[in-house]
Amino acid sequence: MRTAKVCMVGAFGVGKTSLVRRYIHQQFDESYHTTLGVKIDTRVVDNIEKPIKLVLWDMEGADPFEKDKRPLARIRSYMKGAHGLILVADGTRPATVKTALGLYHDFCREFQYVPAIMLANKADLTAEWRFDDSVMPDALTLYHTSALNGQNIDAAFTALGKALSEL
């Protein structure tokens, strides 16, 4: 079975760890624990024609206002050799969209094009929702997700797994 390194990238507090936790363990924790460094986990996507093992790199988040540059340096080193990217933004914080897209463009400039998707997370917070779908580049498929209720998470990871398995 093929193995693919997939990096979860985005600003801090957007819910990257919660998304992985929901996808791998079907769990959700209300409290916020910031990630420092990287946590690596795996899951096989087997509901597709060519099953694939995703090695998910859940990385620490970048500062959307770039006051602290250290996380960015670490994130860039972790992203090296990634086969796929999951960009994560918080649908209630418009600045986080720019951070996720910035990391994506950095990666494409330095390395090469890889399959990537964008998750606009916290879709359950409808009252505070301020995500503008129209700013998405054509190359990115957008999913409105919620780690709280699981909305679109399996669909998004499966779609990326399928794209990676067909390369």
């Binding site: 390194k5 916020y32 624990h33 420092l36 460094g37 946590k39 690596i40 050799g81 914080r93 505070e128």
Partner: protein, 506 residues
Amino acid sequence: MKRVSQRAAHYIRDELLKREHFIVIALDARQNILSVNRSTPDWKLPGLIRGSVLPDTLSSLLGAAVGSDDPVVFSYVEFEGYFVDIHVLGNEASADLVLHDVTEAHEQEQTLQQRAHENSLLSEQRAALNSELAELNQELFLRRQQAEKASTAKSRFIASMSHEFRSPIASIMGYADLLRTELPDSENPLALQRASWHLLTLVENLLEQAREGDESVKLNPTRFSLDRLVDDIDALFRTQATAKALDLETRSSPGKIEVECDELRLRQILINLVSNALRYTQQGQISVHVKHHEDKLYIRVRDSGQGIAAEDIERIFEPFTRVGESNTSGAGLGLTITRQLINRMGGKLKVESKPGVGSEFRADIPCPRAQDEHKEPPQLAGTLLWVDDDQDILSLYQLMLEGWGLHVLTASSVTQAKDMINRHNFPVVVTDMHLTDGDGLELFNYFKTTQPDIVGIIISGSGFVDLPLEAAASGIRAFLQKPLDADVLYTEIAAAFAGGSPGQSV
């Protein structure tokens, strides 16, 4: 650090290995673990077994390090419950992984990072709330502006309508007054007066409601006879009271007392209170007492009507509100306006009522006694021009002013007035503000430069409060409001002929 001896280098390495946990993993080309060497035996990672394949977690690191000749370091990688810095040495054919336990340092930095992120998220939330608040404030501001515009438009509309009503009412009232003098024993002029006072009060009520809260509205104190005012109220309502078989009793302070306060508004107050009593009283008595004592007027209107429940007392002062039986006529503004007027005049209104027994409205209003006794005004002499596009008004005031000994010429438009001013030498010109082909201010501005000696008086039925200011700015002697009080008109015209100081607007 510059070159050190081998002995020093070994010493440093040994000290470092004593203090820090390291594991060195040697791999073959297929990522099988050839050996696992620990710096401290107690740091055991069960996933690392000699002869087994490198776990996916670590194997994915190798891919990231491919192609680099220098050691590649991945900081703070979580592995089997520890956080480690992983150093990748060598290449895919033969690699060494050096795992350095940094769990403690990670914990310390993570705590700081967590705090910083939480603060940052709070700041973002605060900024978002502030921006939302700013948007709401902006929206509120726009809505308030719209509401103020609508309110101003409404007030201007009512003020302009009141002008339309006041002119014909003034004409009717003036002629009724003349008829009363000519036919003292006839009931007909009284009926005319009653109807016109009723109409005027309704118009004034509307106007008062339109300018509620407008602090610039001025009172117009004039000198008048208290017993005549009470007689007029009696005359206005006696027929209605008789028709309902009610006993109407009106009483004022004994003697001919002359006072100085806003007569028009005082009449409005009395008419509103007595109308209200008549409306809600089906049998029995209505008494109206107006007394003057130590610079105050004390009004008491008592009825034996249906009365008001205690919980409804405040509601009767709400605009367009009816309490009790709903089959009564009227706009529901009378008591609202009455309290508003009394407050504006510096007075107080109190109500006592018992359902089934009746109500009593008591007001006390500051109103000084007139300084000297009223005398018949002396005859005037001279010629003046009166400009008004209402022929009835022209005839009425022509008749009145000729009674004072003046010679009155009339004009019905700005054009005609200009022509007459150029042909005659008028010391005084009185004009209505709103004429069909222009306005009074325009007329005065026209001859201000050519004939600056002419004394101008403007009369208007408009409720616009800024007009008197405009008139004053144009050098007009007086700005009087319809319906005209004969005494005020006499005073202003006499002063205009005598060249006296300008009077105040009405």
